[in-house]
């Protein structure tokens, strides 16, 4: 790629273009292709350099300054995030266990003697139910974190063969879903009322 490294960019491009033109005119397809590849290479060089710099900055941000292979910290970042999901899962499970125990303890109390006791017990029951439901945060935060993990993995895979195929970095596009919408990042999500309205307009 001598043309790419030439200090005088303009004359380098002229050279490449002329060589491409000559190759096309003389019907030398291999040489024409090589010349065009040179041009593409020249064009994508800043992009590649930008990506490599980004990867390094990312590595520094992740506290990996001393290491040579910047991209190696990306799988580690994924592991850390997955650990958060596991940690919140076990904490949620522990909370749900305690809520179950409270329910059992409540059931062991002698029958309520008056309305106030009855109300207190019913109030406790409904609050335990709310506490259980509130543990749903683990699912919601987990979905968001796992989506970021998927993105970081895609970046890592993309950086791995950046010199090879010029595949754009992207999340696998399938029907799997996107997880919860994040305010300020995603489009305004539908609320339960919107969903109800939409479904009833569709005859459901």
């Amino acid at each position: 790629m001598s043309a790419v490294a030439a200090p005088d960019e303009r004359s380098a491009i002229v050279d490449v273009l002329q060589s491409a033109l000559r190759a096309v005119e003389s019907g030398d397809e291999t040489r024409a292709r090589a010349a065009i590849d040179d041009l593409v290479q020249w064009r994508t060089q800043p992009l590649v350099q930008g990506l490599v710099r980004l990867a390094r900055e990312l590595a520094v941000a992740l506290g990996d300054e001393g290491r040579t292979a910047g991209a190696s910290s990306l799988p580690e970042a994924c592991s850390r995030l997955e650990h958060v999901v596991q940690l919140t899962e076990s904490s949620s499970m522990r909370t749900l266990d305690l809520i179950d125990e409270c329910g059992r303890l409540l059931a062991q109390l002698p029958p309520p003697q008056d309305e106030a006791q009855r109300e207190a017990i019913a109030g406790l029951r409904s609050r335990f139910s709310e506490m259980s439901l509130a543990q749903g945060y683990q699912d919601l935060t987990g979905q968001i974190i796992l989506r970021v993990v998927e993105l970081v993995r895609a970046v890592h895979a993309g950086l791995g063969d950046i010199v090879g195929a010029h595949e754009p970095l992207h999340l696998t596009n399938n029907t799997r879903g996107h997880g919860p919408a994040i305010t300020g990042v995603d489009a305004e999500p539908a609320k339960q009322d919107d969903a109800d309205e939409l479904l009833s307009s569709l005859g459901l």
């Binding site: 899962e89 949620s92 499970m93 749900l96 809520i99 139910s129 709310e130 259980s132 439901l133 543990q135 749903g136 945060y137 683990q138 699912d139 919601l140 987990g142 979905q143 399938n174 029907t175 799997r176 879903g177 996107h178 997880g179 919860p180 919408a181 489009a187 999500p189 539908a190 609320k191 339960q192 919107d194 969903a195 939409l198 479904l199 569709l202 459901l204």
Partner: protein, 130 residues
């Protein structure tokens, strides 16, 4: 409403399966099985007769929308009501689920009241159709 109906709860997060099970228990439903994605749900559905499927959308393996489509495409399963309980909240997704034949759609985070309400609607329709 028959409280003995068999319900399959499908979600990749064990916490959410447990929460939904707890809420169903509060409503008097205790005949509940679990699956962690569409593929294992289909295995369960073919093993025993279920009266209702409550499924998440975003799951590794087979997502909920594909499970719904697989259920509707299967002669022996297609009549089972499916309630989607999901954080997926794009209008196109709700429409896609409706077109695929969903019976109810609950957006996470949800309240116990919303779940009970949507279940009630599903049972009402089943009873009206019977």
């Amino acid at each position: 409403m028959d409280k003995n109906i068999k319900i399959l709860v499908v979600d990749d997060f064990s916490t959410m399966r447990r929460i939904v099970k707890n809420l169903l228990g509060d409503l008097g439903f205790f005949n509940i099985a679990e699956a962690e994605d569409g593929n294992s749900a289909l295995v369960e559905l073919r093993k025993a007769k279920f009266d209702l499927v409550i499924t998440d959308w975003n799951m590794p393996g087979m997502p909920g929308i594909d499970l719904l489509k697989a259920i509707r495409a299967d002669e022996s399963l297609k009549k089972i009501p499916v309630l989607m309980v999901t954080a997926e909240s794009k209008r196109e997704q709700i429409i896609e689920a409706a077109q695929a034949g969903v019976n109810g759609y609950v957006i996470k985070p949800f309240t116990a009241g919303t779940l009970a309400d949507k279940l009630g609607k599903i049972f009402e329709r089943i009873e009206a159709a019977a």
